[in-house]
Subunit: 388 residues, 2 copies
């Protein structure tokens, strides 16, 4: 076990009816006027918008709406949000949506306090020194942004999708009501679960710790639970237990508790996927569904022992030979992604193989930013070729 | 999954060298003068005392020592500590030791701010309204008091051992250095692990949730890890990985993350054990080693499905019949406790069977305090008779 610091002060209210009950009273503890950040129409369709508005009004919290966050949130929208937040003099940011919305809320919260471009945080040109308090209502379960300190943003003109972390990005409070996931369609339910599993699997497979048995067991338990529960929601979108298991597992799996002691894990599939969703209109989970199995196949020999453990513990693979077991595990994961209707090749996502060099060039920026020096353009191209 | 609130803001510094590096700088963030609470001689023998003193001095934190906390900490010592803390005008409490020390530090922190007896908190006569900030250095891994909001205290004259919880008892910072466990003898290493497992197993077996698969998996992973690691430290007391696994597993298993969504679980073995350690000079873990298997045998029929799952997942029991599998699981757990040298009957702890009525009468106070109304004096006697 490596030395670590663990600090996750986000207060979680989980369950049915929590939005109406908590959002107003909790937001009122942090400010008088909120910037209410959300996405497109889904929060209006599923009733979450009304619950939030009612709760804020009941608690006497004034608010300004900032809708329109898209998947893979973009700098220009965040910049306009910062301008609005400053003009309206809001003192708290409330993000209501999936990871894209909550990540945008975080970037706006820090941007309001900065006298430079918010993008400077994402290039590490400036550290995050201050931020408005952030609260979140999660309506998609994937990024765990609702209980971690990360945020990801895309700069459109150069197609760079970068991620950063700061204790100031940790939401003060997050409200998680599994019934908000009922209206999530099959495709996004699948992508969300794939994203949540990818976070865990990247840590699990890339840890520098030789044999992190405790953390392995926690990850395996969470991944198995997400797989089983996702299979249920594919057939029963309003199965509360299954949605609740996914909602809580995705948070526990990426809030720092399961990785504590594992040291710094590189996230190569995320590094490459960020290039895909920076360049194409593809959901992050769909991109991971292509890149993760491709990267696993590429890394098979090198990571055979860990992948074999994954195959045995999660998919019940019986094979004794580590390399063969690892190969079967990758095959099972890929088949499972396919069974959910997620793409497992560039072709299935209508991304031409001719673009591999361009994607690799973009991903290389992420590799350099994240100090993953062994991922050259050639290596990235090789991985993408496996997943073409 | 039941609705829940999860909030655990304790900041953890884990690993070798963390005491010297963190205790001074972190304590200085919360006060200028600390009450340094510790136990008997062990922290002096293992060097932790010196590390703490050096760290406080380096950071310019003044401190008053309050040594002498015993296992199963007592009211009179806490009251004297409160008096000292008030007289010396300390503004922060630092507990350095096992659960007894940290629990005492918590009671003192609240007692300083109260205008009534600190015992009134433990009888629920008064709520905890305020407390000095608490920091902890854990040197025994059992209670997880270093990362939870509970504290347990014994009132000597009436032999009542009561436990309470408050967000104000949550340590601001806890430092966990597995090397501090190297000097823990076999007996206390065993008792600590038994206590940590008992916390998880009581929640696991008594949850009102029908099928908490996610939480089951987390608990099973943690319990298996503690069992394996304890077997290692019995032979190699200075095995860092094993001590680190025990130290972190015992905290993760009782800091609220694994039980979130499981609803309120009664803790019958703890309820009965508190009577044992209130009446006799017996370590809490040794008491649990007697009571937990006895309670499990008593509850076998009623809890057969959950105990069978435990038996299969933790001990690899292959038996199909749930009752038989459950019975084998209890047998395996009891044998494992025995293999560590822990007592598994009252007789082995030199507690006469003739005292069962007296113990049951004492335990009944706990049962009433914790609203466990189905545990009558007769039921408690029956359980103790199984464990006699």
């Amino acid at each position: 076990m490596q030395n670590f610091t663990f600090h996750n002060p986000t207060k979680i209210f989980f369950g049915k009816g929590q939005i109406k009950k908590r959002v107003g009273t909790e937001t009122a503890k942090y400010g008088k006027k909120a910037l209410f950040v959300y996405g497109q129409q889904s929060v209006k369709k599923n009733g979450v918008y009304n619950q939030v508005v009612d709760a804020l009004k009941e608690s006497g919290v004034a608010f300004v709406e900032w809708p329109g966050v898209k998947s893979n949130p973009v700098l220009s929208h965040v910049e306009a949000g910062i301008e609005l937040a400053c003009k309206e003099n809001v003192d708290v940011i409330l993000g209501v949506g999936g990871g894209s919305v909550i990540d945008s809320a975080k970037a706006i919260a820090a941007g309001v306090k900065a006298n430079h471009s918010v993008w400077d945080f994402f290039t590490f040109a400036q550290p995050v020194r201050d931020a408005l308090p952030i609260l979140a209502v999660a309506t998609v379960s994937a990024s765990a942004s609702e209980m971690n300190n990360g945020t990801v943003l895309t700069k459109e003109d150069c197609c760079h999708k970068f991620g950063i972390a700061s204790p100031l990005f940790q939401p003060k409070v997050s409200v998680l009501d599994p019934t908000t996931l009922f209206s999530l369609d099959k495709k996004y339910s699948a992508y969300s679960s794939i994203d949540a599993i990818a976070h865990m699997l990247e840590a699990y497979l890339n840890t520098p710790v030789a044999s992190p048995v405790l953390q392995d067991r926690l990850h395996e338990g969470l991944i198995k639970t997400i797989i089983e529960s996702t299979d249920i929601v594919m057939k029963q979108p309003d199965n509360y237990e299954a949605r609740a298991n996914i909602m809580w597992s995705s948070v526990v799996g990426f809030n720092g508790i399961t990785t504590a002691g594992m040291g710094f894990s590189a996230f190569p599939a995320h590094m490459i996927e960020h290039a895909l969703s920076a360049l194409y209109d593809i959901a992050h989970g769909a991109g991971l569904s292509i890149v993760l199995p491709a990267w696993m196949s590429w890394a098979l020999e090198n990571k055979k022992e860990r992948m074999a453990r994954f195959a045995r513990e999660v998919f019940g693979v019986k094979e004794n030979d580590p390399l063969q077991a690892a190969r079967e595990g990758v095959g099972q994961l890929k088949s499972w992604f396919s069974s959910l209707g997620a793409p497992v090749s560039l072709k299935e996502a209508n991304i031409p193989a001719d673009d591999i060099a361009k994607i690799a060039a973009n991903a290389l920026n992420n590799a350099q930013m994240w100090k993953m020096t062994n991922y050259t353009k050639e290596v990235i191209s090789e991985i993408l070729t496996i997943g073409q």
